[in-house]
Symmetry: C2
Subunit: 233 residues, 2 copies
DNA sequence: TAGTGGTCTAGACCACCGG
DNA sequence: CGGTGGTCTAGACCACTAT
């Protein structure tokens, strides 16, 4: 007898994926139990489990104990983006990185910042504006607010040398991170700093981080015109 | 003897995560072999493996056979977004969904479309412009190009009833998908269609899909001012 | 409460790749 | 070549939840 080649979890995944794509199972349909699939494909149940884990991660199926495995009724495109530290992003594109501190001062956090941090009471924070440059040209304008309570060290940092972005990433681990993408129109000051025209459409990445319930920092990374964020699935 | 509680892979993950955050292992450092960690934490190697899989998925460590496990030298924020079908997105926000076909015609694909599809020779495609409405107000303007070669059915669809978005999602599975986020300034026509002012900053989600090497469709989803895409990690 | 997925274990073999 | 991670198996028990 030719010993049938061993089945890998990717084979199982592809098999099921195919079955869904060709319509054998439609949105909302229930798939057989793992154990039955294992018997049918002649592999261990844990192999099926591994395949199902992958299909769940990619958003194709939903699984519930006792409820079984179902094809997700609402198809979604699930995309993953890596957002690196700005310096590395520029260097990886082959640019020469430059950094310039514009402004740093203690202030009352405005309402928008408080809302992003999900706190309701007034609060003093450090505001930091800085420019990241690629080959001498503006690349990203960073408008950041840092909580004194969570990050007392911020008072003693020399932000003219090292960006808060970099220091925080390596020194302030977070337990939660909110990300927000949107577009804004450049106001006069932003346009001047980014070396573009007022009214230009700018892509913004806004990020807020917490350690448990305590806000660490919230930052708007305002990109220059033409910036694209991309990924492949 | 008190029987030590069983260790779960999440315990292992958190243990290692903690060790990295507190600086016990810095960027680029090599972690012990799975087998050693298993002994030290008194669990099976496969439990460590499961934990490592999670840490790899979240971008915290890199693993290579023989090379071992290392803390990623370049920290990244890895974010996952679910992009639903537009109709469902509107309905989930509590809006009443509306759809309106603006224009549909066979054309030579312009250079930008060919580039997005990664094809070099001229090509006839179907261009479709449509508006998605929430509670009667413009929500997303869809500018789509569909390949006749990969999707011959597009000629016979009644696009006044059903959006190409929805039909393609349920009928044309893809093997590859490119996603691109950026900002544009509304031109006069776009502004009128979206019921806003020329020059407004608009957030754009561009998506191109292929079946193997054959392009299926490329689409710009142009959102109305104020649109935010968000996720939590 | 019973059915289903989630996880742990111990052991085995394989695949990759650094030295 | 040898060390390390990747995977498969068979079996067991647990945790959730639909009915």
């Amino acid at each position: 007898m030719t010993p049938t080649n061993r089945i890998s979890w990717k084979d199982v995944r592809d098999e099921i994926h195919e079955a869904i794509l060709t319509g054998r199972y439609g949105p909302g349909d229930r798939l057989p139990r793992d154990a039955d699939i294992a018997v049918q494909l002649n592999c261990a149940r844990s192999t099926v489990q591994r395949a199902m884990q992958d299909l769940t991660d990619s958003g194709l199926v939903e699984r519930r104990r006792k409820g079984g495995t179902r094809v997700r009724p609402d198809p979604v495109t699930r995309a993953t983006f890596d957002i690196p530290v700005t310096r590395r992003e520029i260097e990886q594109k082959g640019g020469r990185y430059g950094y310039q501190l514009i402004h740093s001062a203690e202030k009352d956090a405005p309402r928008g910042v408080l809302a992003a941090c999900e706190i309701s009471s007034p609060c003093r924070m450090q505001q930091i504006e800085a420019l990241h440059l690629s080959d001498g040209q503006p690349y990203i304008l960073e408008d950041r607010w840092v909580s004194f309570e969570t990050v007392p060290e911020i008072r003693d940092l020399d932000l003219t040398r090292q960006s808060a972005n970099e220091w925080l990433v390596t020194n302030k681990p977070y337990s939660r991170c909110d990300l927000r993408f949107y577009a804004i129109s450049a106001d006069d000051r932003t346009a001047e700093l980014l070396n573009t025209v007022p009214g230009a459409a700018l892509f913004v990445i806004e990020r807020t981080t917490w350690l448990d319930a305590a806000p660490i920092t919230t930052v708007k990374a305002i990109t220059t015109p033409g910036y694209h964020l991309l990924t492949t699935i």
